[in-house]
C-alpha cells in the first residue's frame, strides 16, 4: 500500500529533533502498551507483518498526528479484535462479555527473559534456490500492492546490485494477510544514491535495502 508510512525520500517533514536524556517511555501508559503488545503476541494469533500492517492502516492524517505508542495502541486493538481475542464491545466497556471464560496467559513474568532471548525468527530452514548471486545487477520491480509490502516506493524501478544473500525468510506481503509464509531469499541490495535521487547526490554514497526475491528482477 502506498501509504504515508512509506516515508523514505519525502521532504519537508522538518528537522530531526533529538531529546537529551530521553526516557525509554515518556508516560507509564506507553510502557503498558508496549508490554501488552509483546505479551498478547505470545498467543501467536498474528505475526510481525500483520502487526505492522495494522499500524499502516491507520488513516494518513492520523498516522502523522499520533504519537508512536498511540499508533501501537490503535494497532493492538485492531489485532485483538480482528483475531478474535477480544470483542470490540469489550474494549469499549473495559469489561469481559458476560459469561466469557477466563484463559491462562501464555507468557508469565518468569518466562519473559527466556522468551526475549529466544526471539521470533522469521528465517526458515527450507531449501529454496537463490535466483540471484552476489554482485549481480538487479532491478527493483515496479509494483503497487494494495496490501502490506516491504518494498519501499523510493526503490521501485531502480537499478541496484546484490551485496549479500541473507538466506531464506518469510515473505511479508502474504504473511501479513495470513496467506502463507512463501519463504524466499532476502538480499541486501546496494543502490547508488545517484540512481535513487539523481546527480545532486554524492557519487559514492549508497543506500542498502534488504529486499525479498519477489521484489527483484534480473536486468
Amino acid at each position: 500500500m502506498n501509504g504515508v508510512h512509506d516515508m523514505g525520500g519525502m521532504q519537508d517533514m522538518g528537522p530531526v529533533r533529538e531529546e537529551k536524556n530521553e526516557p525509554v517511555f515518556h508516560h507509564p501508559w506507553e510502557g503498558r502498551v508496549f508490554a501488552m503488545y509483546i505479551a498478547t503476541g505470545a498467543w501467536r494469533k498474528w505475526n510481525i507483518d500483520a502487526a505492522r500492517y495494522m499500524r499502516e492502516l491507520i488513516p494518513p492524517a492520523d498516522y502523522l498526528r499520533m504519537s508512536y505508542y498511540e499508533k501501537w495502541y490503535a494497532g493492538l486493538v485492531e489485532l485483538l479484535v480482528g483475531r478474535g481475542l477480544v470483542a470490540r464491545a469489550e474494549v469499549e466497556s473495559g469489561k469481559p462479555a458476560p459469561g466469557s471464560t477466563k484463559a491462562t496467559p501464555p507468557l508469565t513474568a518468569e518466562q519473559v527473559p527466556t522468551a526475549r532471548h529466544r526471539g521470533a525468527s522469521t528465517s526458515r530452514d527450507v531449501a529454496v534456490a537463490a535466483r540471484f548471486k552476489t554482485g549481480q545487477a538487479v532491478r527493483a520491480r515496479v509494483i503497487n500492492p494494495v496490501g502490506h509490502t516491504r518494498l519501499p516506493r523510493y526503490a521501485r524501478g531502480k537499478l541496484g546490485a546484490i551485496h549479500l544473500d541473507h538466506g531464506v525468510f518469510v515473505f511479508p506481503d502474504t504473511n501479513a494477510l495470513f496467506q502463507g509464509e512463501k519463504p524466499q531469499h532476502v538480499y541486501s541490495v546496494r543502490f547508488a544514491a545517484r540512481e535513487l535521487w539523481g546527480d545532486a547526490a554524492k557519487p559514492r554514497d549508497a543506500v542498502y535495502i534488504d529486499l525479498w526475491e519477489d521484489y527483484l528482477e534480473p536486468t
Binding site: 505492522r52 477480544v86 484463559a103
Partner: protein, 193 residues
C-alpha cells in the same frame, strides 16, 4: 490515553489474556536491563580484541552471542564498520526497526517522520543536524532496515584512546554512534579532539 490503556489492560488481565506481572517484567526489562550500554560493550570488545572484531563483522549473531546478546528484534544482526572513508548510518523508513538486544527501544527521533523520510535522500543533511559534517571523500552508506535484519554500526575508535582498557572504552561509546548519526569522541568532557 492513560485511561484507555488502563481499561484495556484490566480487560486483558480479567480475560486471562495477559499476566500483569509479565507486563511489569517487560517494562522493567526495557527500562532498566536492555539498552545502548550493551552495544557499547560490544564495540569496546571489538576495539580491544581484533579477533573478536573479525568475528563480529563476519558473523554478528555468533559474536554477539558470546557476550550474551541476541533474541527479540535482534534475531539476525549485521554489524557495519566505519572507517576513515566509509560512514554507515541506520534507518527504518517503513516503521521503526531497531536492534533491541544491543540498543534497547528506539528514541522518538529515530521513529519520527523527519528522520525516516530524509535519512535516505539527504543523509549528509541529517548528519549535519546531529553536528556531524562529513568530507566529500567519505562514502555514506545508509542501511534501510526493511527486512528482519537488524543493524549496528561499529564506530571508529577515536585517536588518543590507545592506552584505554575495554572497561574504559565502553563509556565513550554513545547510542548515537551505534546508529551512525555521530562519531565517538575521545573524551566525553570535550578534551582535545
Amino acid at each position: 490515553m492513560a485511561l484507555r490503556v488502563k481499561s484495556l489492560e484490566s480487560l486483558l488481565v480479567e480475560k486471562g489474556l495477559v499476566d500483569r506481572a509479565a507486563l511489569d517484567a517487560l517494562v522493567d526489562t526495557y527500562e532498566n536491563k536492555v539498552g545502548p550500554r550493551n552495544g557499547a560493550q560490544v564495540v569496546a570488545r571489538a576495539w580491544a580484541d581484533p579477533a573478536y572484531k573479525q568475528r563480529l563483522l563476519a558473523d554478528a549473531d555468533k559474536a554477539l552471542g558470546e557476550l550474551g546478546f541476541g533474541g527479540q528484534q535482534g534475531e539476525h544482526m549485521v554489524v557495519v564498520e566505519n572507517t576513515p572513508t566509509v560512514h554507515n548510518m541506520i534507518v527504518c523508513t517503513l516503521c521503526s526497526c531497531y536492534p533491541w538486544p544491543v540498543l534497547g527501544l528506539p528514541p522518538v527521533w529515530y521513529k519520527s517522520a523527519p528522520y525516516r523520510s530524509r535519512s535516505v535522500i539527504d543523509p549528509r543533511g541529517v548528519l549535519r543536524e546531529f553536528g556531524l559534517e562529513l568530507a566529500d571523500n567519505v562514502e555514506v552508506r545508509v542501511w534501510d532496515s526493511t527486512a528482519e535484519l537488524r543493524y549496528l554500526v561499529l564506530p571508529e575508535r577515536p585517536a588518543g584512546t590507545e592506552g584505554l582498557s575495554e572497561a574504559e572504552l565502553a563509556p565513550l561509546v554513545t547510542r548515537d554512534s551505534l546508529i551512525g548519526v555521530a562519531n565517538v569522541q575521545p573524551r566525553r568532557q570535550g578534551g582535545a579532539a
